[in-house]
């Protein structure tokens, strides 16, 4: 699982940092390192960019995994640099931003947008494969999630916008239901497509999701 992120436009970052001249930069050694949006190199480039913007960079670090509880430790180690900063600019995903705010009394500003949870299908190509809906349908759809891979999230088969295996919203994107059909056919399980899938329950876990396990 990876949290897929994209750096915000520099103008937006500049806007978010208005009135804050001293900045401490945080990257993440896990997801944003893999997506090259918040690893060591990107943090260094950001530090340079901030200086060009006229900001003073009080320091920077890349936390091994920004969303776990070791983040507190790393923040403590960097306390003297963070103390001198007006804010922390986070190049981790939103989960990291959330975690950082738990341990810091300074504003934490995201430098990236969190797009989706995905996997790297081929180098540099990240695909959204699960929407974490709480009612996994993969057992009936040959392991391809139509909630996620179909633009409309349809569970009862393709719409009329399916076009030679591609989707009407983007010719580059596969029609999820063509993929599901092909795979079920190969497996001799097309009867699964004939099943009526009732409307989804959108409150399997009441939002916001909080759950105690064990």
């Amino acid at each position: 699982m990876k949290s897929i992120t994209k750096q915000k436009p520099i103008e937006e970052i500049q806007n978010l940092l208005q009135g804050m001249d001293k900045v401490f930069v945080v990257g993440c050694g896990t997801c944003t390192t893999l997506t090259k949006t918040g690893g060591v190199e990107q943090v260094e480039a950001m530090k340079e960019g901030l200086q060009e913007m006229g900001k003073r960079v009080t320091g920077g670090t890349v936390i091994p995994t920004a969303c776990d509880d070791m983040t507190e430790e790393t923040m403590k180690e960097n306390e003297q640099y963070i103390r001198n900063a007006d804010c922390v600019l986070s190049m981790s995903c939103a989960l990291g931003v959330h975690q950082l705010t738990l341990y810091l009394d300074k504003p934490v500003i995201p430098a990236v947008d969190t797009l989706f949870i995905g996997v790297e299908e081929s180098p540099g190509y990240f695909h959204e494969v699960c929407s974490q809906c709480g009612q996994c349908i993969l057992g009936e759809t040959a392991g391809i999630c139509p909630i996620t891979a179909c633009h409309k999230g349809l569970v009862n088969g393709p719409c009329g916008g399916t076009n030679n295996g591609k989707c009407e919203v983007d010719k580059e994107k596969d029609c999820a239901w063509t993929l599901i059909y092909n795979r079920l056919k190969e497996q001799g399980r097309l009867d699964l497509m004939r099943r009526y899938q009732p409307p989804r329950n959108h409150h399997v876990t009441l939002k916001p999701g909080i759950i105690k396990i064990g």
Partner: protein
Amino acid sequence: MISSFEEAIKSDKFIITTEVAPPKGTNLEKMLHHIDILKDKVDAINVTDHQSSVMRFPSLGGCLAIKEKGGEPIMQMTCRDRNRMALEADLLFAYSRGIRNVLCLTGDAVPVGDHKEAKGVFDLDSLQLLMAIRQLTSGKDMGDNELDGAVEFCMGAIVTPEAQPLEPQLIKFEKKVEAGAQFFQTQAIYDLENFASFMKYARKFNTKILAGIVLLSSARMAKYMTENVPGIFVPQDMIDELSDTPKEERLAKGIEIAGRTIATLKKEALCDGVHIMAIGREEVVPDILKAAGL
């Protein structure tokens, strides 16, 4: 009491439906004019529901206008813009105002339209909408609560006979038939051989099939649709027929082609009727009917 359209689809007559598009704005003049010239010439008139995801005056409003003029509306209902509660509520309202026919569609994707950043709802899909209407007909809502006054609709759906690959579409078609779709209006068809083979299959099911007839007004449009609109295939000889026609006569040629297609479908009893979509040129629908000998 069943609707005059439901009576028609229960009879052996060759059914003719067409559609009008509500305006972008509150000036209803053009739509009302189209209703006036079409209402007595067809069995029912569809009113589109923000077609191509372009925000417009609602289908429900257009259907009421048809009712006021003594016509027979088919309310197109997509799942793109309303969750199940809003869809159910609109169905109750539509029924209370005498609308008796509903065409259930999933709806085009939001990004193909003119409100590209809007949320696509799709709480239900076309099949689940058919099932929802069945539930409302039984006197209960989707939450299983008793209704004080149920609905009774003649339900329809769509199918794309030229879709590639076809089998997934047919599986969904069969699910829609099982859900109680009494009629189908197809995506535009031009190749009658392909359509005949689809009908050979569709005839096995207890439902009525109205072939979709989209008026071609130029060779460019025909080519564009074949290349860009999912599930539409215009044969090359038809495109050539249009491009060999002088520019000012191309609309007349398109009317002739549509009329000819309808006449053949009827003569050879290939399907149960037609659904004519003139897309912005609704005023020529009577000419198409004339060209078809209807």
